[in-house]
């Protein structure tokens, strides 16, 4: 039973940026944030490295990267001027749950200077409040145009560092497509749903159009329309619905960087940290998992994440999919909806992971999506990992069936 969180947390320090008000020499929202965080840490006598949770309406990921910290809780709730009161409310819940001990709620807004800086920005003609340093020195200037052009650099490095091959990663797309053929709602289910649908081979992946070397078209997720929702309810109420509960045994989140400029190891993500957090909360480990839903914006995303979640040794992520292990009928089903690669991916794929994990663990994976026989697995536990940004941020859940 939940207990009243009153007095389970306190505000322990407060500070402002170096200057406030009408700053004639001008400033940026980011600078205001960083000054305030530096000052509040100095007042409290701690290092910013001790901050475990970040709450901010803007620049939250950037703040963590800029300060070189890896928060275990990030809340970017932005609903206007009351957002900060809500951040305190949310931080209190997170602290009360024992997820974090120290959080910063930060604010930086150049209401005055942004007017002066109209039409300027990180890039010429950028407009609005300007100037993220990572953007100023990152992709835009040099012809990086989106997620594929960023993620490709990670695959190059993985092949260099671990001796993996294009074929290894292409096989992830092949196994994922197998699952799509069992899901009539999958965009790539068959030739009936899409001219390019139906089973594919490793050679098909390698022969598909090169988008950003070393990423071919079939290494890359779809861009679709998608709506989805899950309901989350307290343990007390969880069995009072028409539908059955799937338990949240563990949860964790973490960020390693925002821009790839600050990604130390291009073959590792914060899924290691968020996965560890989720396993610890659940009192379980990778060996206890019976299936996985892994974000597959690109084959390289899925491959690296498999390593981070402890499902394969380091450098051998793609082996999770090898020899039919993760395929329909295999020992360890992965991405049983057909994945972002072949099912549906609207840009932010994390909801699709949740829905499919719920269906598998509640035994509704077939009729829930009018599926064909063979899609429903016998898994009673699942590890679910979402990846956001440029391999930047991850959220991991350990879910278990109701028994």
């Amino acid at each position: 039973m939940p207990s009243n969180p009153s007095m389970s947390a306190a505000i322990v320090a407060a500070a402002e940026s170096d200057q406030i008000g009408y700053i004639e020499e001008g400033t940026t929202a980011l600078n205001l944030h960083i000054e305030a965080i530096r000052n509040v840490c100095a007042e409290a006598g701690i290092s910013p490295a001790e901050i475990e949770g970040i709450f901010a309406t803007n620049h939250a990921n950037m703040l963590a990267e800029y300060l070189g910290i890896h928060p275990k809780y990030i809340d970017t709730t932005a609903v206007g001027g009351c957002s900060f009161q809500m951040h305190v409310h949310h931080a209190m819940a997170a602290i009360n749950a024992g997820i974090i001990d120290i959080a910063v709620v930060s604010h930086g807004e150049a209401g005055y200077s942004a007017r002066k800086n109209q039409g300027k920005g990180t890039l010429r003609g950028g407009g609005g409040d300007p100037w993220l340093p990572s953007a100023q020195f990152g992709g835009g200037i040099y012809g990086n145009w989106g997620a594929p052009s960023n993620y490709a650099h990670a695959l190059t490095r993985h092949m260099h560092q671990w001796g993996s091959t294009k074929e290894d990663f292409a096989n992830i797309a092949v196994a994922t497509r197998e699952w799509a053929t069992l899901n009539p709602r999958a965009v790539m289910h068959s030739k009936d749903t899409h001219p390019a649908g139906g089973p594919i081979t490793v050679q098909d992946v390698l022969d598909s159009r090169m988008i950003v070397w070393p990423l071919n078209l079939l290494d890359i997720c779809l861009v679709t329309d998608h709506g989805g929702a899950v309901l989350v309810a307290s343990a007390e109420k969880a069995r009072s619905f028409k539908t059955s509960p799937v338990w949240i045994a563990g949860a964790g989140e973490n960020q390693s960087h925002q821009d790839m400029l600050e990604m130390g190891d291009f073959t590792a993500t914060s899924a290691l940290a968020s996965g560890e957090q989720a396993y610890r909360m659940a009192g379980m480990g990778p060996g206890d998992m019976e299936m996985a839903m892994i974000y597959d914006s690109f084959t390289v995303t899925a491959g690296i994440t498999a390593e981070m979640l402890g499902l394969t040794p380091r450098g051998e992520g793609p082996s999770l999919w090898a020899d039919g292990n993760a395929s329909p009928g295999g020992k360890f089903p992965v991405n049983t909806n057909g994945g972002g690669l072949s099912f549906s991916h609207s840009g932010m794929y994390g909801m699709m992971l949740l829905i499919e994990a719920y269906r598998q663990l509640s035994g509704t994976a077939e009729d829930g999506v009018h599926g064909l026989p063979g899609k429903q697995t016998s898994a009673q536990s699942a590890i679910v990992n979402g990846t956001g940004g440029s391999l930047s941020v991850t959220g991991t859940l350990v879910l278990t069936a109701d028994v």
Partner: protein, 139 residues
């Protein structure tokens, strides 16, 4: 310069000016924390390693090595004319990492590009005030 048809950075006048001033003179200026003595890239108002606010700028060697790369076969705007071109993260001799579009490589032949290859910086004049750094493979 009149031909420069790619996105041009709009330098942030509060933090990064020393870099852009150096670029005009063909120098790679980098920020270094005087407290822990470590170089960081991108420029900040405090050191990401020790959170000191004592940052100094110094002229760096302009040399580095390819950390990883990709070849862009698809692009937009001014970059669309250049496909395929290689982009790369560069490990600086002085520490930390920059991003660039690579020169001196055969982007038609991605496997010919070597991680670890030595690169040197050069600057393109993009407009009257702005010189954009690029890195070229030199061995």
């Amino acid at each position: 310069m009149a031909d420069y048809n790619k996105p041009i950075p709009s330098p942030d006048p509060y933090v990064t000016q020393p870099f852009w001033d150096g670029a005009k003179e063909g120098k790679l200026m980098l920020p270094r924390c005087t407290s822990c003595n470590r170089v960081h890239w991108y420029p900040r108002i405090l050191c990401p390693h020790c959170h000191s606010s004592s940052i100094e700028w110094f002229e760096a060697s302009g040399e580095g090595f390819i950390h990883t790369y990709a070849v862009q076969n698809r692009a937009f705007g001014g970059w669309a004319d250049e496909t395929p071109y290689a982009t790369a993260y560069i490990d600086l001799v002085e520490g930390d990492r920059m991003f660039t579009a690579l020169r001196g490589v055969d982007a038609e032949n991605p496997e010919s590009i070597k991680i670890g290859a030595r690169v040197k910086i050069e600057f393109d004049q993009a407009d009257e005030d702005t010189y954009v750094p690029y890195w070229r493979v030199v061995d």
